[in-house]
Symmetry: C2
């Protein structure tokens, strides 16, 4: 087998293990999942897990990092810093919330298993979370500064807006009433209400 | 030992097992917890668990039912159906949210382990959840009807208001910046913004 083909097979095996780990963590929790469950889900031997990932925690970190980086990319792509705070908040909440509906399984594992990460890995994830928080808080700060928003605590309003999106991953069902985009659209309106946006979006 | 003394000891043992189960489920998840862990946490033998509870799932149901009933009592106590929708929503959100901060460990187990309940037990819990949802939805409906609130979807606004409170249990820390009552107070204001309450509370 050529080196390129071998690398390709390695990448495919890693991806299959990640998918199996995601399903297992979502169903039985991190502590309720054995490497045996993950191997079985990926159709591999338990030993094969360690060829591709150092540990079960390493798999959790890879999943958590991918989820958080993905959210960060979605937020950056949705945000136009040249637009008004209302337009910015609406676009960011819409995409952030829709992501948590669309990717609810991945989001739940990333959000609910933070405590199972090693200290170093948790610090890495917290760094990404902080960047997302800072951007949303910057938008709300800008809205308060130009008089289009009115909140008692910018920090708590930021927590609430992000929290609304995150909790969609708990209650969203693929066969439910609303699509991810519909929830994103509704929630972006609710978020403007939450910050008492008084200025027209146009 | 008299019958009364024996019953008292039985109740004390059940309470110790529930507390140990709550701690174990919160730390390692339902599927990551063995009856051995629960027995050890309660300072009892694994066999003793089955003297007092039929199964691990039975312990989870007891914890979940207690949490949900407690929330229902808090909501009913906070709500004065004779008051205006704004006053009602503010009081209910304040107490509902403060409860989820104060009892965050219990709330997390009750919210995140719903899937681990038996079908019958889950139906019982869903019945209580529906009663809480219906009451909050009734308040928002009343506000829309009398023109003090303006939302596109009463149902989704209800989901959002309750979701905000539930997600506090995920991020709340006992050593954090805000007390449960402060979070309840802030969130009750944010909820009035979210439903675009236009009428004064007085």
């Amino acid at each position: 087998m050529s080196e390129a083909a071998s690398q390709g097979r390695g990448a495919a095996a890693r991806a299959r293990l990640l998918e199996a780990a995601l399903y297992a963590f979502a169903t039985r929790g991190f502590h309720g999942t054995g490497t045996r469950d993950i191997a079985q889900g990926a159709g591999m031997s338990p030993a094969a897990v360690y060829v591709h990932h150092r540990s079960k925690e390493d798999l959790l970190f890879a999943l958590s990092e991918a989820a958080h980086q993905d959210v960060q990319v979605v937020v950056i792509a949705a945000d136009d810093p040249g637009a008004t705070p209302a337009v910015r908040l609406r676009a960011v909440v819409r995409e952030y919330t829709a992501w948590h509906a669309r990717r609810h399984t991945h989001a739940r594992v990333a959000q609910y298993e933070m405590e199972a990460l090693s200290a170093d890995h948790r610090a890495e994830i917290v760094r990404i979370r902080r960047a997302i928080d800072d951007r949303v808080r910057g938008i709300i700060d800008a809205g308060v500064a130009d008089g289009s928003f009115a909140v008692d605590s910018t920090r708590l309003a930021t927590v609430a807006v992000l929290s609304l999106g995150i909790d969609v991953a708990r209650w969203y069902r693929d066969d439910g009433t609303w699509s991810p985009d519909e929830i994103g659209e509704h929630y972006s309106q609710l978020a403007l209400g939450l910050v008492r946006c008084t200025r027209d979006l146009t």
